[in-house]
């Protein structure tokens, strides 16, 4: 249960992530389907109808995707990278295994509670209090392993990825505890402040965890896959320590105007780390672009990085009150969230898994063709999905602002867009199936040979 074999915890996190990728994926497709054919919901058997109800399934979809799939892929990557960049063993492999059990208890808890409607009802903070505590404990155990491994490193230099792992876990702890009001979830704040705290948490969940750690993972992968040293470590650190913007998810809202203007300023400042990362990215890629054609993992990384830049442009645009007034509340927002979570961060997680899992199980990947199918189906599917939601959102905005179209008519107009979105989602889902099947065959075809996991080799870019 708590093996001390090097690399075993990382492998477990990756395979748990693959499992938890399928669950919210199926949920997402169900949500897309009922938006396209709403009367299907009336036909669900009464015994399961409540659990498939849109409002319940949506929060299960979101929470399992971010905490079950993406976060576990991140942790798998962190545990894989730590010994390699520090030239030592992980601080405690057993602790990492305990972390894995607790993490999956938490995710299973979310799967059991959210479809039952047992929820705190705040976006991205739906998990109930016991699960909140488990998340804090998990983040703490992970932080101990990260800081502990770095503390006993045999490599004097701390590569930028390690900084992001240390910073991400350190900042996530207070952000999660404050954002979820862990001392009194429902009583600590009421009214407007309750919402302000919620979106403080939502934004910094992305800032501190998905973006900061995600960039760290990408900056490990980039020199590895491009086979070139990182262009600038200083630029990398720049990116790290200035990823700090404000909360801008509720503009034109009842919140104080000065707070909204403040968040707009901070959001514009976010262009600095974004630019730093992209400069670093392109300068490192110089002379390696031909590899993108051959290497699907690098292609996922590069595609993710380009879409990430686009996410940031979109994010800054959305944080202007005038633009927010148009697109906020429309389907544009759903497109934007999938851009960040699927096409950027999940694409980086795909690259992680393609690079690391074959090493961890000690053999090469089962099928190169399935990798290509995964890339093209998921990329094309998601682009279709997002573009149609963005266009749908702009049309909704136009209709709502005309002040002369009954709301129900603006819903009816969405139907063909929901159809195309479902189609895009199905394509992307087919790609995901290729991905998971490929990894499963890679691991399960024959008993795993002992892999030279700790053979540290040349560290990325060092």
């Amino acid at each position: 249960m708590l093996s001390s074999t090097a690399g075993s915890a990382s492998r477990r996190f990756f395979f748990a992530a693959l499992f938890w990728l399928l669950v919210p994926g199926v949920m997402g497709l169900t949500l897309a389907l009922v938006l396209y054919v709403p009367s299907l919901q009336d036909a669900f058997p009464i015994g399961i109808k409540p659990y498939l109800s849109f409002g319940r399934l949506r929060s299960a979809h979101v929470n399992l995707a971010i905490f079950g799939w993406l976060s576990q892929a991140y942790v798998g990557g962190i545990l894989y990278i730590l010994p390699r960049l520090t030239h030592t063993r992980l601080f405690s492999e057993r602790l990492a295994h305990a972390n894995w059990w607790l993490w999956n208890m938490m995710v299973a808890g979310a799967l059991l509670t959210l479809p039952l409607g047992v929820t705190q009802g705040r976006e991205y903070a739906e998990m109930i209090w016991p699960l909140d505590l488990l998340l804090v404990l998990n983040m703490l155990l992970l932080a101990v392993n990260i800081w502990g491994t770095v503390a006993r490193r045999n490599e004097p230099k701390i590569y930028v990825s390690l900084w992001t792992f240390m910073a991400g876990t350190m900042v996530m702890l207070p952000v999660y505890m404050v954002g979820n009001k862990i001392w009194d979830p429902d009583g600590a704040f009421t009214g407007m402040t309750d919402n302000i705290v919620n979106y403080f948490y939502v934004h910094n969940l992305f800032n501190a965890w998905f973006t900061t750690v995600g960039l760290g993972l990408a900056l490990y992968l980039l020199p590895k896959l491009a086979d070139r040293p990182l262009y600038s470590h200083k630029l990398g650190l720049w990116g790290l320590w200035s990823v700090w913007t404000g909360q801008h998810h509720q503009l034109n809202s009842p919140a104080p105007d000065w707070l909204e203007y403040l968040t707009v300023v901070f959001s514009i400042l976010a262009a600095v780390p974004t630019t730093a990362f992209m400069v670093n990215f392109f300068m490192t890629m110089r002379g390696s672009w031909q590899r993108v054609e051959r290497d699907v993992a690098l292609r996922f990384l590069v595609t993710g990085a380009l879409f990430w830049a686009f996410t940031c442009v979109q994010g800054v645009a959305q944080s202007f009150r005038s633009f927010s007034m148009r697109v906020h509340f429309t389907n544009w927002v759903i497109g934007h969230s999938h851009l960040a979570l699927v096409v950027d961060y999940s694409f980086w997680a795909f690259a992680l898994i393609y690079l690391m899992v074959p090493q961890l199980v000690g053999r090469s990947l089962y099928s190169r063709a399935l990798m290509e199918w995964h890339y093209w189906l998921t990329t094309i599917g998601m682009v279709v999905f997002m573009v149609f939601l963005w266009v749908a959102g702009l049309i909704q905005a136009q209709h709502w602002m005309s002040n002369s179209i009954p709301f129900l008519d603006t819903v009816r107009v969405m139907n063909p867009f929901f159809g195309v979105r479902l189609f895009g989602g199905l394509l992307a889902g087919a790609g995901i199936l290729c991905f998971v099947y490929n990894l499963w065959r890679t691991a399960a075809i024959e008993p795993a040979r002992r892999s030279p996991v700790l053979a540290a080799g040349p560290g990325a870019g060092q």
């Binding site: 919901q41 319940r56 919402n195 403080f200 320590w241 404000g246 009842p254 707070l259 509340f329 009954p406």
Partner: protein
């Protein structure tokens, strides 16, 4: 780099703390009293509000009217989205249901829409079979709620004046 570590850790924690003070603690100091629209809920309305939360209604319905659309945007009639939402409207609420997405209309002032929003019979029918009264609606049907639960939910919805 080792020497910088305490500064980097301290600096980032201080910036986080400043962020919390400026964006949470200071706004929370604003003295906000309840407006005429805010109301302390009855026991039944609270049960209804809990059902609204449990079923996740807030993922598709906002409860906030922004200044530029106030009294202008159209639900059934031009301008019937209602007046701009202000902090005091939410005085008695935790959590608030501001929402981020409108697959359905804003509900901040739903119960002020004459004939539909303020009509309990219409509300009940719509919850049980949305497409019977709103053709083209994408809302789930809540025919699995018990009559008492429906009563409570409708009672809560009628507070959204």
């Amino acid at each position: 780099m080792r020497a910088n570590l305490p500064y980097l850790v301290g600096g980032s924690l201080i910036s986080l703390l400043l962020g919390i003070i400026v964006t949470i603690i200071i706004p929370a100091q604003d003295p906000i009293g309840p407006t005429a629209l805010a109301r302390p809920y009855t026991e039944q309305e609270l049960v209804g509000r809990a059902i609204y939360l449990k079923e996740g209604c807030m993922y598709c319905h906002t409860q906030q009217v922004r200044a530029p659309e106030a009294n202008a945007s159209m639900i059934h009639e031009p301008g019937d989205i209602g007046p701009e939402s202000v902090p005091g409207d939410y005085y008695y609420q935790s959590p608030v249901f501001w929402g981020t997405n409108r697959q359905g209309p804003d509900l901040a002032h739903m119960a002020s829409r004459a004939g539909i929003g303020d009509n309990p019979a219409w509300q009940r029918l719509h919850l049980q079979n949305p497409r019977a009264v709103s053709s083209g609606s994408v809302m789930p049907s809540y025919d699995y709620l018990t009559p008492a639960q429906l009563d409570a939910l409708v009672a809560y919805l009628l507070t959204l004046k």
